[in-house]
Symmetry: C2
Subunit: 382 residues, 2 copies
């Protein structure tokens, strides 16, 4: 976290104290702050005892939240704010955990604002010892949905009235490309969407998923990964894992090659069941299952020996990853075609290096061939 960010936190903290102490908003702009004001803020600490829970949470975040902390506090029952708080927490947990695994190198934290409304916090760790490129991004954006986006949602079955509708979206999305070919790539993404129709009615839904892309198959790892996701799903419905595992295999499919991107996981969209509270709890469980599903696999293989040929194979498979993301992935396409989109955060999912060889085919019976067989015929792991 940069010095400026920490200072901003202090100021924000001051604003919360002021609000609670005096019940009026006191606007502190910029970083120039006089000693008299600092003294005044300090004197407010006595009133802040009831706020320790929010301060504790903030200590785990990677940057100051996108939404003003007063609003987060005042509207803490609103799903928009609950989702933002949840993804801030998950981002912090995951980045800190990866930093512990990585050792020295830290995430670069990029907090950006979107002209049209909202912004994001992009955390990137690049060229590490363990992580070749790891991005953990949250965004909280709002504004008017362009007609094309409304049309796309309608074609998915959404009952939206109007052509250019106010929306709110909050989500966390991450792709982790480790250096060692024996450590799989992981991707996850959890999001909440709200659209206000012309008649004032609101539609909301959740979407997301976590999926694994190994370069070499370790059945035990894949089973552990799927089992962790299944356990998270099972708490919320006995058929969820089965349905969303199937959806994942279907979604992460490179049609022109007739192969899956990886060994799957879970994927879902337009989830409104059983109700807003239940759906939020389900998505929270899924987001909380990312670290236990993946971190043990990284720890297990990060120091495995590997050959130059294994590294080449990893880069070739990363080429396939690029193909999927740029040709088929709905989020990437939707993002890049949206005017004003922050392409650097969207394309953070691409690996540091990828390779394309004409007509590459692994040797029959090799470990590379073993992986290809699974990618061409996705199986049940549990």
């Amino acid at each position: 976290m940069s010095f400026t960010t920490i200072l901003s936190f202090t100021l924000y903290r001051g604003r919360v104290f002021l609000k609670n102490a005096q019940k009026h908003r006191f606007k502190v702009l910029g970083v120039g702050i006089g000693s008299s004001l600092l003294g005044y803020l300090n004197s407010c600490k006595v009133y802040a005892k009831g706020r320790t829970d929010l301060n504790d949470l903030k200590a785990g975040w990677m940057a100051e939240p996108l939404t003003d902390i007063n609003t987060l506090d005042q509207e803490s029952d609103d799903m928009k704010r609950r989702m933002e708080m949840m993804i801030m927490r998950i981002q912090g947990d995951i980045c800190r955990s990866f930093e512990r695994i990585e050792g020295k190198r830290k995430f670069l934290v990029d907090r950006w604002e979107r002209k049209e409304g909202g912004g994001g916090i992009t955390c990137v760790l690049q060229d590490g010892e363990v992580f070749e490129k790891a991005g953990v991004n949250i965004s909280v954006v709002y504004g008017k949905l362009p007609p094309a986006a409304v049309q796309q949602m309608k074609s998915r079955g959404k009952n939206l009235v109007g052509t250019e509708l106010p929306f709110f979206a909050a989500g966390i999305s991450s792709v982790v490309h480790p250096k060692n070919p024996h450590v799989p790539t992981v991707h996850f993404n959890y999001r909440y969407f709200e659209v206000t129709c012309e008649d004032g009615s609101k539609q909301w839904w959740f979407g997301g998923g976590t999926d694994l892309t190994p370069y070499y198959l370790d059945t035990q790892d894949v089973k552990h990964f799927h089992q962790t996701l299944k356990t998270a799903c099972d708490k919320h419905g006995q058929d969820l894992y089965k349905r969303y595992k199937k959806w994942c295999d279907e979604y992460f499919y490179i049609t022109h090659r007739g192969e899956c991107r990886g060994v799957g996981g879970i994927f879902f969209d337009d989830v409104e069941e059983p109700n807003q509270e239940g759906a939020f709890r389900f998505v929270t469980s899924c987001a909380e299952s990312v670290l236990p599903s993946y971190a043990p696999i990284v720890r297990k293989h990060k120091d495995d020996a590997y050959t130059a040929a294994e590294r080449q194979w990893q880069l070739l498979r990363r080429g396939r990853y690029v193909e999927f993301n740029l040709i088929y992935d709905r989020g990437t396409k939707f993002g890049l075609y949206t005017p004003g989109a922050r392409y650097e955060s969207i394309l953070m999912s691409l690996p540091l290096t990828a390779r394309w060889e004409y007509c590459h085919a692994p040797e029959k019976g090799s470990r590379e061939d073993e992986l290809m067989k699974i990618l061409k015929n996705p199986k049940e792991w549990l």
Copy 2:
């Protein structure tokens, strides 16, 4: 050229002789050929004097043509056959020329057939001293256009009657990614299209272009490149270069980054002017200008010294090349979404290696920055 290909040529040559000598078709299947038949073929040579022109041409091709050589011969006035002969010649000229520049390594020649009709000849030189990955592909395909393709053509302004129409397409397409960052990448593509409407009427058109993607700017090279294309265009119309140069800058544009893929060249589609003969001659001139526009630049820079940082910059720019091809290029998208498409030939355009760094920005005033300024504001070179 593989032994099998050479043998096939011999057999085809025999068939032409037979046809001309005896005016009947003699079908030779497979590679099993008895000595008596070989003797018979040899005895036909005496009749073949009038055919030396076709034999001379064949010697320059990379493989046996997609269309039966009897048909090429009998229908030599048909534009379908003339286009196939032209692209076979250009493919041969370019591959042989690149092999001379490369030194030892030769093009791998892959002749493939398409279940639905036609096929292609893919020539690839990979991991060379000069050429990191060079592909020169021709395809001659026919069949029924899927309704989506007809629709796409209609939306471009084509007056096509029907939903699933017989078509014929012949084209050459090539991307050359050299190893040395001081040698630019080149792409070219020239194609002829024919569609038969439900009422039996035929529509035809030509499309194509050549464009250059340098990693470091050498103004003299870019001027030479554009001047060579302009000279080819000027023979066929004084405004062609200007129009097609502009079209090229507009087409090879990476919208989400707000930058051109390279320094342009020419690009056109749906060309029917001034008539079929004139349009074919124009496209032939363009295809013939590829080697003189590009080969001198390769020779000039192939042995330039370069640093590891320059190589990294080249790989980052190749990442942008991948972005354009997979996200925006009409040919790639159309190809990959077509059932039964040969994706290896379509994706031959991708570099051997590409790189993505989060928020990479060249140092102000550096040579990399100089290139970026041009890519963000395409200029007139002549």
